[in-house]
Symmetry: C2
Subunit: 545 residues, 2 copies
């Protein structure tokens, strides 16, 4: 039996595009004499469709796609993910299902049983868990259909759930496991995914075919890496990361393979690819082309500019340098060197006349009050307004350049440097920003060395340095990670050896600045806990602050 | 038996304040010789605690509160809501529980079985549903403990769930139902709540005591209205709306009561109270005092200013009038009349010098391109920056004045008039804004008549009117409501008699402008479907747009 695994870049709600891609892949699989082709989870509508699932019209359009797919499943079996209307009035309105079509007939629908409802996932908001488990008989083999999370509670070791769907079948009652996934990228997730597929193959003594999505849906970036494991638990193949692809496997061939064949993992390179994919698909899926951003001479905007250039092409990135009376000379010279390295267009627009016009109009309100954060923010917001002006006039989309450390502690100006349609590095701590810049420079002179080595500064008042008001980023980032990613409380973090006053101050800053993050652009997610839809906190809470 | 029902304003994460309030209420109930006192859902930590529930430290603090509450439950039974750690490794880490303390001992813990996971509710993200049902024996009576949603699937008619918790008890096995709720305000919800309490009392032939929260937690506004029904299904009493209160009931007295005693419902008055509560608690819970907002002369900013004055006091509201070269004379005169009516402070800051400084700096970028939305947005953003400047300098918090109609179709400027820490009327359609203004004017001359009667205009170019680019608000709002609240698709709305092109255009606008709403301030929720946490849509989707 020859099995095709299609790893596609779906577009949420774009039924026509998704359908055309699916049909094209089916045709290609037929041309290669495949017996079966496997697609990803909710492939008809894209993932995650979120509250669009609550619209009958949306489900009907998915059903129309399914019907056309069925008609193409003649001599080839097609396994594809789509929502299903729950026929009984009790429980949620929908199931998250795997459809098995063959000979233009629906052979089986299997509903997802384990519904991820944590972090960025909201599946129980929409779906009733499946509770009926049946294999599909196909060309003498019994096939068990699973959807993403269904294989992630092997031996019931995942504390979120109370059973493992594959254990609901009689032992030995299936010869093959198919898994339709939509599993987004996060650091360290690639290895976990291999392990879980391998463990399922070994546990049930059957091959596992695992199809993932690729491409970004706003903040979620799907990295592909679709997998095949044989019944000995050997990872026979892993498809490419981040790019659409299709692979064909002869069952007999994979069963005899003894060596794993997987992509090398370079974590910084995967993060780079993820962010480039995130930018590229944000623009492509919104029908946009050109980006604009402010170049401050600092490392954050330099990194985002480099990534945007990789994603969109140098002709599509416009850098704007906006010096003020507090800007250092190197803020311009370093930025110009970067612009030159990347070969992108730039403009220089001094903000001083705007800043002074603002100060003049605010004189009656400000009176004789001393220079404060208000004047700092006026500068940052002058830049934001100028950038948005060009964005609105020329149709460039402003990219946000805030990093995770500053988003965490609120070291950024709302409606100023926090402007932008997409936060590119909002899930990278400052120390990771440095790491990624050094990684970029491995393949050429991209980020000027001085941008990497000079002390970080917002340059909003004379001789300002980040270190004036924040601890060393090494320490800050570690404390933030313990709190945000590892969900440790203040006592637990202090017990790791950090100064109690510092820990309490930082956790207080994080919680007090939730109001700023609430209004931040969507953040490309590359960690297990990014700001945005995966981290939901109340603004008016009085906890640790 | 004498039962006290405490309707309190909890503060999320403020364990000390919540505990003190609870203890104070217990002491008051003891002084009144009550046998039992009932509090709300998750009373120790406030509702909704959201991802703070994922922190052990947070749960430990709740447990510490519980232990102190237990010690105060000597001769009085105390029923209070709090999270519970799930003792088994399988399933979610927590339960959402009702604790029954008496004689300084924990008599029973009942876990919530029906976990709302829709709209603004995310309970299955955190909680395992309860599956074990036991009554508590107290002074010769059997008491069934329920938590909020648990009583909302009476006769299994709520399609979200598959059973009704109270049906899990043997018929006639309990004499009393207690319900610990945290049920936020929405138009029409007050009546539904009465009906469900009444229906449970009648269905199980027992009294029902229902304790709700009051006060706002960022966008969610709890309206109280705690209820008591007797075993004949008569609503014996309804506590006040939006204010903390406590009431005492003699079981024998309520059983003999035959007439319902509920508060009168005036929908616009309830919305007014909700919004005033929302503003008041946003400020109070964040430790803030003073608000600032831009007065355009239009109806939206006029309404928000009036509501803010009611919430915070006239000495705590600063109105800023920021005329431009496109502003009408009446934009100033109408605003000054409003300022005068309300007795608040104001400043006049013309934006022209700032706007022209921006235009001057942007000349090289704009070239000879014609006047466009870019120039309009520059004006709106000049105002935003000026307001935020005063906010930062003086510590006033900027209130956002966008209405639901403009948020829906994207008729607002990101980082301009969409600035602000809290969206006050973002859940009121434009037609409802008019209704609420007329309601305010019933109790005095608040909003100048000309502000209500003149045609809405953004005044960002000569002779601009909202009606230049939008249909009549009556039509627009109806289409929006069918789409947003009623989740009808385009075909369904067209079938109601609306022009197909118009419907498609409006639905496209709504979906295309998701990126703007993503960065909007939290919206005070007064409808069944507000923008924000209760409506989750992907930005890059290609659906109906």
């Amino acid at each position: 039996m020859k099995i095709a695994v299609a790893q596609l870049n779906y577009h949420i709600g774009h039924f026509e595009k998704n359908l055309n891609q699916i049909i094209e892949a089916i045709d290609q699989a037929k041309a290669s004499n495949a017996d079966l082709i496997l697609f990803g989870e909710l492939a008809t509508c894209g993932y995650p469709p979120r509250d669009f699932l609550e619209f009958n019209d949306f489900i009907e359009k998915s059903n129309e796609s399914l019907d056309i797919i069925r008609q193409h499943a003649d001599d080839i079996a097609v396994v594809v993910g789509a929502p299903t209307i729950n026929p009984v009035p009790e429980g949620k309105d929908l199931f998250n299902s795997a459809y098995f079509f063959y000979q233009k007939t629906l052979q089986h629908v299997q509903h997802k049983a384990l519904l991820p409802t944590y972090d960025v996932f909201d599946e129980y908001r929409y779906f009733e868990p499946g509770s009926d488990f049946q294999t599909v008989s196909f060309k003498g083999k019994q096939i068990a259909l699973t959807i993403c999370e269904d294989i992630w509670n092997i031996d019931n070791t995942n504390p979120l759930y109370t059973f493992s769907p594959l254990d609901q079948y009689e032992a030995g009652s299936f010869d093959l496991i198919l898994n339709l996934s939509a599993s987004p990228f996060a650091q360290e997730h690639t290895e976990e995914r291999r392990q879980i597929v391998q463990a399922n193959a070994a546990r049930y003594n059957t091959p596992v075919f695992y199809a993932n999505h690729v491409g970004a849906q706003t903040e979620l970036i799907f990295d592909g890496g679709s997998l095949v494991a044989n019944s000995s638990g050997v990872i026979v193949d892993e498809q490419t990361f981040f790019e659409p692809s299709m692979a064909f496997y002869e069952w007999n061939d994979i069963e005899t393979q003894t060596a794993s064949n997987v992509n090398p993992i370079d974590e910084m390179e995967l993060i780079r690819q993820a962010l480039v994919t995130g930018i590229r698909d944000y623009f492509a899926k919104l029908g946009l082309k050109q980006a604009i951003l402010g170049l401050s001479g600092g490392i954050d905007s330099a990194l985002v500019t480099a990534l945007a250039t990789q994603a969109l092409g140098k002709e599509n990135v416009l850098a704007v340098l906006m010096p003020s009376e507090y800007s250092s000379d190197h803020s311009i010279s370093d930025s110009l060197e970067l612009v030159n390295n990347l070969g992108i267009n730039h403009q220089i627009i001094p903000i001083t006349p705007v800043y002074h016009a603002l100060l003049e109009q605010l004189k009656p309100s400000f009176g004789n009050l001393p220079f404060s954060i208000a004047e700092e923010n006026l500068q940052s917001r002058s830049r934001g307004v100028l950038l948005m002006g060009i964005s609105n006039k020329l149709g460039h989309i402003l990219l946000n350049t805030s990093n995770k450390s500053e988003l965490a502690v609120g070291y950024g100006t709302l409606y100023g440097d926090m402007c932008g349609g997409l936060s590119v590095i909002g899930d990278l701590y400052k120390t990771e920003v440095f790491d990624l810049c050094r990684h970029l420079n491995k393949s050429g002179h991209v980020i000027p060395e001085n941008i990497i080595t000079k002390p970080p500064s917002a340059e909003l008042r004379p001789d300002q340095k980040d270190s004036d008001s924040l601890p060393d980023y090494e320490i800050l980032d570690t404390i933030l990670k313990e709190y945000i990613e590892n969900r440790k409380g203040p006592e637990e973090i202090i017990q790791l050896g950090y100064d109690a006053t510092l820990v309490q101050r930082i956790l207080g800053l994080v919680n007090r600045n939730e109001f700023k993050r609430y209004q931040t652009a969507p953040v490309l997610r590359v960690s297990s806990k990014a700001f945005g839809m995966g981290r939901r906190l109340p603004i008016v809470a009085k906890y640790l602050n």
